[in-house]
Amino acid sequence: MAKIDIGNKEFSKAIQNLPYTPNRGIIKKLDAKLFSLDANNVYSYKPEYLAGQEFKSVCELFQRRFGDEVKPSDVLLKVMGLFEYISRKEKPFVKDLQNLAVEIIRDLYNVPDHVDLKAFIEPRIHLDTEQDNNPEPFLDLSLEQKNAMRDEIQKRVILNGLVHGSSMHIWKGVYYLVKDKLDEMNPQLVELYDEFTAGINFQFWMMSPDSIQGAIAGGSQITQGFNKIKFDTPGKPQATVLCKAINFPALLHEVNKGVIDYLICHSIPKQYSKEELAYYYSKADSYENEIWHYLLSPTLWSDLLAVADVDSQEIPKIIMNLSKLSYQTLTEIFRAMMEDPKAARIKLQVWKVI
């Protein structure tokens, strides 16, 4: 059978000079621009750029933290061992680490008390993170209603990219902010976190997205953490953000995710009925998007940080302002970031994002 023509293989070209090669399934899907986020005008624009930049950064981190000692084929076993070892070393300090994770993220963004952050380290997370896949709440929605929601759904996909992208950024090393405290607990922790986070990050690129999906469908437990926002009252800002993770770096990731997730709630259309909201979340927050957010969205976030060039405490306002823009405007801004950062900065100013 003839090979399917997948165009110019832009992603393959973008990574050809890097020391490692991602999983073939990832390369194929990105070269063909056929992945779960491909209906989005930002992610389908230059996925080779978004993915290429992130893979380059992942390779550099991997080499810096592991040197030549660990082969790519050994990473999975290595991180599994690290996970067990970290759990043992963290055990005497679990409460301190939970408090520290909340303290770091609160300080980073100046999170006020009405956003109640509850963080827990649980090395064995139960699968209470099930997404509600029941279509019943929105079975009665007409095709017209669903079509009318398309732009809002795609807008939330971009904002979800900021949630995931910022959290990957936090995951890679924000624990250095509290290195002194971690060293007091156990001087091995930071080095263990360095290897664990770089190893997991690298591993994302070595796994087939389809096999991850299959493992989940088969009930495999590979969850490292989750977060859930619960607003006290509709229409009011008071909320509880529950975060659970297997260890400290994963908990930092989750608490950050919860906070940015809270901020992007500015974008949730107020006029939607409960049924419409159920459909909107179901489409925009679908778990099948997650692996692609890990691969593509860190670049979206690091580009935003570079172009906006602000202190971390100004980030919440930027997220709010972006959340209030239309899908079309967000597309325009994020596409400009991929092509011309100076032009993108002007757009951020014109749209009063910064």
Binding site: I216, E254, E290
Partner: protein, 84 residues
Amino acid sequence: MNKKQNKLLGSPEDLRNDPELEKGFLNLKQFKFKMSPETLEPLVKPADPEVIPEIVPKKEPEEDSPWNVPGPKVDPTPKGKYIF
């Protein structure tokens, strides 16, 4: 006040070690519920006003604050089943 109620005025250790109470009233809370408020009152140590935490209502954020997020009708779906 009857004999059993009287025993409740003892220390928690006395109560825990009292075989009669254990036999008849395994659950101290249940026993207390049967007592009248007048009997219970002296059992409650008056709280030190200085240590009573002041109940402060959650502060409302400024109108234009990024933290003034209107809670939607349905909470957002949790993210993170796969890896995170």
